[in-house]
Amino acid sequence: MKVAEKDRVVHGMLEEEYRRCKDALQSLQDKIERYPKGTLNVRKKQHKGKEYSYHYLVSREGGKVVNRHVARESIPPLRDQLKERDKYKKEIQSYKKRVAYLEGLLNTSKSRRGRIEGSSRHKPSR
């Protein structure tokens, strides 16, 4: 195969990879919305010589810090969900980096980016 054709193959693969990453990023961002956001915190209070602990989910909503009380029985599933959310967040970060890297490689202008994203979202075959 000629060198010029080889370049087209490589460039095409990069474009395809860019499209794939954008699609994956979108799907992951949709998915992460289903998980609760925030950090699990414990507040300890003393009352009549006894110490009580209360769990709160602390998150930021519209610039405000919001504390939501979490019932004791809800703590383990909430911990799992927060852990899962962190996993998705990490994955989203890795895709964002990759998209930025590919944009640099492909030297994509905004209009061109739109063209790449718009074309062939569906893989016809392997």
Binding site: R20, A24, S125
Partner: protein
């Protein structure tokens, strides 16, 4: 590697195969067919057992336990992602244009249906990779599959990539095995035309496939 080892341990490669560009390094190792380009998506052709087949292994659970995140693509196909790598399952589509995602009960995954995938699963072989067995299409099946799908590609670059892989494989494919694969396919006029056009593009004699 850990993913392949795990899939192998649950018996996935007894009938299902690794496909896509990740097969090329195996051909390089076994047949000295040198091709260096590969993408970050790892595809598996899943053999479809009877639709009511019981769960054999919960791949969704297994793959996510390996650190992959699971999500559904726009088309409803299940994908698993880790560090930019993306795992996807492909099932054979029997004619028509129905491209609805296919739930595979046996493995608890939702696969993408594509035509001619059965060529890859029916003509496959095993190889030992480190300490486990992996299944992949024989080069002749991969070659013919690419000849067909190359002409169906919308993106020219993907077509070029398919044909480039064919150009590499045409040096190692055996005529007897090519005939066996071709004879197993119901060749429509369109499919024959696709094969003929791809052969012309790479300069491969059509008679080696046993097609007039």
């Amino acid at each position: 590697m850990e993913l392949l080892r795990t899939l192998s341990s649950v018996g996935f490669f007894e009938r299902s195969t690794l496909i896509g560009s990740w097969v090329m390094p195996i051909y390089q190792e076994l047949y000295q067919a040198r091709y260096v380009l590969k993408t970050l998506d790892v595809d598996f052709a899943v053999h479809m057992a009877h639709a009511r087949k019981d769960l054999r292994a919960d791949l969704e659970k297994i793959i996510t336990s390996l650190g992959f995140t699971e999500y559904l693509s726009i088309g409803g196909v299940q994908k698993f992602s880790s560090g930019g790598y993306e795992v996807e399952f492909i099932a054979h589509r029997k004619g028509g244009l129905n491209d609805n995602a296919v739930p595979v009960r046996e493995w608890n995954v939702i696969a993408q249906p594509l035509p001619f995938i059965n060529i890859l699963t029916e003509f496959s072989e095993e190889a030992k990779l480190d300490d486990f067995i992996i299944r992949f299409p024989i080069p002749e099946a991969f070659f013919i599959h690419k000849l067909i799908v190359a002409q169906k590609r919308k993106a020219e670059s993907k077509q070029l990539k398919d044909l480039e892989q064919c150009s590499v494989l045409m040096n190692i494919v055996r005529d007897d095995r090519l005939h066996r694969v071709v004879q197993s396919i119901l060749l429509s006029r369109d499919t024959k035309r696709h094969i003929r056009n791809s052969c012309d593009d790479i300069g491969f004699p059509l008679r080696r496939l046993g097609i007039e």
